[in-house]
């Protein structure tokens, strides 16, 4: 029973990625991009990397997708269609968001057996980040600081 989640997520991700390329408007593309991220998170969740899936949703979908959407709105010339006429049929949009929700619910309820048992990786993450890989995380922090200089 659980075996159906990963194929479904993979298929959905592929479909929405394909849709993204051929969207007339940027809004449509953004929506499809969001759907793909969610499917990817579901896939990761299916593979057992629950923490990564969560992080993905948090950082990718949360921070960057929003950033991109804001940029798309600012970069539109006034008078162009807003979200409502994004050229994407309403049913697809709903499907794009509902399917990952369903998958997540199924996984959480333990219906889809997680592929790998090795969940220990998640636990060690914190200790690794600030143990042997302290230099790497420090460097990434600096990188983000310098990237922030872009806006000045």
């Amino acid at each position: 029973m659980a075996a159906w989640i990963i194929p479904l997520a993979a298929l959905a991700a592929a479909v929405f990625a394909a849709l993204m390329i051929f969207q007339r408007t940027l809004y449509g593309a953004a929506i499809c991009f969001l759907a793909v991220i969610l499917q990817a998170a579901a896939l990761l969740f299916g593979c057992g990397a629950k923490l990564l899936a969560l992080l993905l949703v948090l950082i990718y979908a949360g921070a960057m997708a929003v950033l991109i959407v804001v940029s798309i709105q600012t970069a539109q010339r006034p008078g162009t269609p807003i979200w409502s006429r994004s050229g994407l049929p309403r049913s697809l949009v709903l499907a794009g968001f509902l399917i990952p929700l369903a998958e997540a619910a199924a996984l959480l309820l333990g219906l889809g057996a997680p592929q790998s048992a090795a969940g220990a990786g998640d636990l060690m993450l914190g200790r690794m980040l600030f143990g042997p890989y302290a230099i790497a995380s420090e460097a990434v922090a600096l990188l983000i600081l310098f990237a922030a200089l872009a806006v000045i």
């Binding site: 042997p132 890989y133 230099i135 790497a136 460097a139 990434v140 600096l142 990188l143 310098f146 990237a147 200089l149 872009a150 000045i152």
Partner: protein, 440 residues
């Protein structure tokens, strides 16, 4: 004498100094009370301090997961710092951000130098590239933004390819370290990573971003790119060396040399011409690295790689800074400079002859060492193609000298003395002194 940091971190002493320097620059800028000149001085001081710290860091050290350095890495760090000095000295920043970005970029290169595994490499790569995009965006030329966008998209695409390669490599070997793997997935991953390295270096099929970026940015920034970034790319390539086949590199090198030299023949804009010439020189560096890899990473060959970059540092910096001091951008403006400004024309002539590889200069000593190593490595046909490439490149170097000396001048140039002129003269003299290296 490791007095500052405990063993695992002593490798990072120069980088630490740079990071602190960058933060101080930013802080000084934010406080609005410190003048721009002082900020530039602070940046320059931090680079010099990093150079001093470099003296005290050991050549051979490795702390397992992330860091490992060898003599080549150590020497290249010296090159990166030297490349940044003229830029900091000559740039006229609107505010404190560009000096900080330069320090950030040099920090990124330093990270590549000491990195032990792929993750650290990627971080170093990004740390080096992101400030570079912003520096290009802040250049004064009208197409600066266009250059920055092109540089960004090409750089990020290369980064994405590197990530994919890393993923494949990780899947094949189960670890992010640099040992070569034999199963096809690992090899595919390795080749994707090599593609990124070649992209950064400017090897031919992947070079199309380079001329636009070099033309878009200011001359002193281009000098930094052509010396600093190219050295970092070479180092990046040597780090990935165990994974790559020497013969593919040699053929890519020969193709790069010939293509770079050929296209440069008809360029009208001088910076674009020098961009293609730097692509040709990148081909020579690639040939040197290929020879180094084919000889099982022999120290003599690594000396050839390092010497080529050291010589190229002086030649390229001198040439680009000459463009800045004389304010010349098109090839037509070069006519008659020999009479109008004898001293600077003579300096450029020496630099151009050095770039072409005519004997008494450093360029020749560098090319000679590379030829020698390539022959020892058995790369005969690429060697001959490289020689023909050098011949074609002589075509436009001599063409420039011909325009300067043999044509009648149209521009009445008697420009005011410029601080950079001393740097250009220093580079010219260094080119000749380094040329005597084989006999010293």
């Amino acid at each position: 004498m490791i007095w500052l940091l405990r063993p695992p971190l002593e490798l990072l002493q120069p980088q630490a100094v740079l990071a602190v320097g960058a933060l101080c620059v930013l802080a000084a800028g934010a406080s609005r009370r410190v003048g721009l000149g002082l900020i530039k001085a602070m940046a320059g001081a931090s680079v010099l301090a990093a150079l001093l710290m470099l003296m005290t860091t050991p050549f051979w050290a490795a702390s397992p997961p992330l860091l490992s350095s060898d003599i080549l890495g150590w020497a290249f760090q010296g090159l990166f710092l030297c490349a940044a000095l003229p830029l900091l000295y000559l740039m006229k920043p609107a505010d404190e951000i560009p000096p900080a970005l330069v320090l950030a970029s040099v920090l990124g290169m330093g990270l590549i130098a000491v990195s032990g595994n792929l993750l650290m490499l990627f971080i170093g790569l990004e740390m080096m590239s992101l400030p570079a995009y912003l520096l290009v965006a802040r250049s004064r030329s009208p197409q600066a933004l266009e250059g920055a966008v092109k540089y960004f998209f090409a750089g990020s695409a290369a980064g994405a390819i590197f990530l994919m390669g890393m993923a494949l490599h990780f899947a094949a070997t189960g670890a992010l370290s640099l040992e070569p793997s034999t199963d096809p997935l690992g090899i595919a991953g390795a080749f994707l990573m090599i593609a990124t390295a070649l992209f950064k270096l400017g090897a031919v099929p992947l070079h199309f971003w380079l001329p636009d970026v070099y033309e878009a940015s200011d001359p002193e920034l281009t000098a930094f790119f052509s010396t600093g970034l190219k050295a970092a790319a070479v180092l990046f390539l040597t780090r990935l060396a165990p994974l790559a086949p020497p013969w593919a590199m040699a053929w890519a090198a020969a193709l790069t040399i010939l293509f770079g030299a050929l296209v440069a023949l008809r360029q009208k804009n001088l910076q674009r011409l020098l961009a293609y010439s730097s692509i040709s020189h990148a081909g020579f560096m690639l040939l040197a690295v290929a020879a180094w890899m084919a000889q099982g990473r022999s120290p003599r060959a690594s000396l050839a790689v390092f010497f080529y970059l050291a010589a190229y540092l002086f030649m390229s910096t001198g040439t680009f800074l000459w463009l800045k001091t004389e304010g010349v951008s098109e090839r037509e403006e070069m006519r008659g400079l020999g009479k109008a400004r004898p001293l600077s024309a003579a300096a450029l002539a020496v630099l151009l002859l050095s770039l072409a590889g005519i004997p008494p200069t450093a360029g020749f000593a560098a090319k000679f060492l590379v030829f020698w190593e390539a022959f020892k490595a058995g790369l005969y046909v690429p060697l001959i193609l490289a020689g023909l490439g050098a011949l074609v490149s002589l075509g436009y170097y001599l063409g420039l000298i011909r325009d300067m000396y043999f044509e009648e001048g149209t521009k009445p140039l008697a420009s005011a003395p410029h601080p950079a002129r001393a740097v250009v003269l220093a580079c010219a003299i260094a080119s000749i002194l380094l040329g005597l290296m084989p006999w010293l």
